[in-house]
């Protein structure tokens, strides 16, 4: 399947608008800072050092701008509230980490400009008998904080590289908290005041840009964000049930009265007994009407393995083992994810891969509750795709799917399409063949809808759906001249996401609007 090219991706209207704003604002600030230094007669004795001073001042202003912005996209609690407002249509809040990275790249670039300009400045300053270069570097507050920030940046940027992040998330996570010291240095970088007015023109006073006046707001907002996280995580939480599913998946159900959420949202989970500082994101798999909150955790790493161990799920003995007391849980959340907007479409196509089914489990449950309680909903049709590698995975949500199928809400309201991608053993195939013929249920999933083998061809699926809508077969009552919104929601590996996005774009047309939404990990 085709992937969009670099050009198509970076010059898509929305992205292009961002780039124009992003580079435009930086270049504008740079020129502003540059000219302000150059044209100020009070700063002439500094400008005399040369062009490097004006460059470093312009770059410094850009750094202040980025320094103020970089903490905003990681305020997940605040973003969660902003998601609910009209701003959600203008700003893609789910791309917050992407924006955080753009800020970081920008900081790196301007840091290089700023630092190299300063290296020249300080040599020139010594030649002009202002101060020895090494003194400015290592004795003045600005020099010290600058060097500390550089060292922190080396450690933070390298440990945030994808190879390290994917190998050892903890290293990345802990190293990234050096940002605290980085920010302290950023706010105090101008202490000692090196941008002084010319003493010949009256008493000298500071005439820097005072960037800390606005960079500090980013820090203050982030501080409140962390306080809010701490406060929410300390609300009482009690594990009520632990279910050990096949294929190494563990379901934890807990009660937290102060926790209000919508279907499709996610939470951060912390187990003080394992680690006081590690917070791990999990999708909520229960619906708001359930008396409990549940998460499904697949054992794929250190943390999830240890957690399962602690809950007594990894015991191989027949009877299983019940831990004397369950560990304390701390929950932060819920946080918004694209999946919570599913109910704003007429037709929703939900695509989950493996454990990526979790946000949709919550949504499917919610659909069931909505139907039971006869609450009105905009949603008319749901096509649910679940692509799984092995047969054991089906058992995670088998009971849920079966209940949903049995209730069969409205004719054709909810359709399951289950795909199995792994190779089957010959005996399994034989077994399927024998059982498949006679029974009306699928031998693997025990559902009425048959399991497909292999990967779905989404281009084909969308085309058929479009034809069906156009001919009026799909949604019989709707007027054909009205536009229909089809939301495609995906949760799974990014390789399939890219190709799926291309297919969605191809299928998008005037009357039938396809939109693509991806869950982020």
């Amino acid at each position: 399947m085709a992937e969009s090219s670099f050009f198509e991706r970076e010059f898509a209207p929305k992205r292009l608008a961002f780039w124009i704003f992003w580079f435009g604002s930086h270049i504008g600030l740079f020129i502003y800072g540059y000219l302000k230094q150059l044209l100020d007669p009070e700063l002439d004795q500094l400008t005399a050092i040369g062009i490097s001073v004006t460059v470093s001042r312009g770059a410094g202003l850009c750094l202040g701008y980025d320094g103020a912005l970089i903490l905003l996209p990681v305020c997940r609690n605040i973003i969660r509230y902003l998601r609910l407002t009209f701003l959600n249509k203008l700003i893609p809040f789910d791309e917050n980490i992407w924006f955080h990275r753009q800020c970081a790249y920008s900081i790196l670039f301007w840091t290089l400009v700023h630092t190299f300009a300063h290296y020249i400045n300080f040599i020139r300053a010594e030649q002009l008998h202002l101060a020895p270069a090494w003194v400015i570097h290592y004795e003045k507050p600005a020099g010290i904080t600058g060097h500390v920030m550089l060292l922190i940046m080396v450690l933070m940027y390298t440990s945030a590289h994808r190879s390290i992040r994917q190998q050892s998330f903890e290293t990345f996570w802990y190293t990234h908290h050096l940002a605290f010291f980085f920010m302290l240095c950023l706010y105090t970088h101008a202490v000692g005041c090196f941008v002084k007015t010319d003493p010949k023109l009256g008493p000298p006073h500071c005439k820097g840009y005072f960037t800390w006046h606005f960079t500090i707001w980013g820090g203050i907002i982030y501080f409140f964000e962390r306080v809010l996280r701490e406060f929410r995580s300390r609300q009482s939480t009690q594990i009520t049930k632990v279910i050990n599913h096949p294929s190494k998946a563990v379901e934890i159900q807990f009660a937290k009265p102060s926790f209000n959420y919508k279907a499709g949202q996610y939470l951060f989970l912390n187990v003080p007994k394992l680690s006081k500082l590690q917070w791990h994101p999990f999708t909520i798999t229960s619906a708001p009407d359930d008396p409990y909150v549940s998460v499904h955790i697949r054992q794929v790493g250190d943390f999830t393995n240890e957690l399962a161990e602690l809950l007594g799920c990894n015991n191989s003995s027949e009877k299983g083992y019940i831990p004397k007391d369950l560990p304390k849980l701390r929950i932060d959340g819920p946080f918004g994810a694209p999946a919570e907007d599913v109910f704003n479409n007429e037709i929703a196509i939900l695509v989950g891969c493996g454990i990526g089914v979790t946000p949709f489990a919550s949504i499917l449950k919610n659909i069931w509750y909505q139907h039971q309680n006869q609450r009105p909903s905009k949603l008319r049709r749901v096509e649910f795709f679940w692509i799984c590698r092995d047969t054991g995975s089906f058992e995670w949500f088998q009971s849920l799917l079966k209940t949903l199928e049995a209730t069969q809400l409205e004719e054709g309201f909810l359709k399951f399409h289950i795909y199995l991608t792994s190779k089957l053993r010959e005996s399994t195939i034989q077994n399927i063949v024998i059982n498949d013929v006679s029974s009306s249920y699928d031998p693997l999933t025990d559902l009425e809808s048959r399991t497909h083998y292999g990967r779905p061809n989404f281009g084909d699926v969308f085309l058929k759906l479009k034809r069906a809508i156009e001919s009026g077969r799909y949604l019989p009552e709707t007027e054909r001249n009205l536009s229909t919104n089809v939301g495609v929601y995906y949760c799974g590996p990014s390789a399939l996401a890219k190709s799926l996005k291309v297919e969605v774009k191809k299928a998008n047309s005037e009357g039938i609007k396809f939109s693509f939404h991806k869950e982020h990990f």
Binding site: F116, Y119, I120, I123, E126, P132, A133, W134, H137, H147, L150, L151, V154, L155, Y157, T158, S159, H161, S163, I164, Q166, Q167, S168, F169, E170, T171, V300, G301, D302, F303, C353, G354, I355, G356, G492, P493, F521
Partner: protein, 136 residues
């Protein structure tokens, strides 16, 4: 989540240090300045010609060649184990610290060296197993 592979991180910091080392070296062709002027008088090495400019540029390129690694270093004794690197980087960082713009790269290189040392003590090998876990 897996364990931290020290040499993976050391390599990234080494690459960063290498890039700065080269830039600092090139910088020194234009601006001759001894960072420890006040402590030790080695001005004869800086004027009229800055010896460190050549040293830093060349060593920076060597660091980059080892860390990338370039094809002629691949699978040689230099890249197959961490000990040659550690032995090479310590003198490089010690020498380049005297040059004006190479104090920082020297520090980063020293950190990378310590990480390589940790890696070899922990018995890591250079064969990074790049089987990225499926996240789903």
């Amino acid at each position: 989540m897996g364990k931290l592979i020290w040499n993976q991180w050391a390599r990234l910091i080494g690459l960063t240090a290498g890039v700065f080392q080269v830039i600092g070296g090139i910088f020194a062709f234009f601006y001759h300045y001894s960072m420890f002027n006040a402590v030790i008088n080695i001005n004869s090495l800086f004027n009229p010609f800055d010896v460190f400019a050549v040293i830093c540029t060349v060593t920076g390129l060597i660091i980059l060649a080892i860390e990338l690694p370039l094809s002629f270093f691949k699978d040689t004794f230099i890249t197959n184990s961490f000990i040659p690197r550690i032995l090479l980087y310590i003198p490089i960082s010690f020498v380049s610290v005297f040059n004006y713009q190479n104090v920082n790269p020297a520090l980063y290189l020293f950190i990378a060296t310590l990480m390589y040392l940790t890696a070899s003590i922990k018995g890591e090998t250079n064969r990074v197993n790049n089987t990225l876990r499926s996240k789903v």
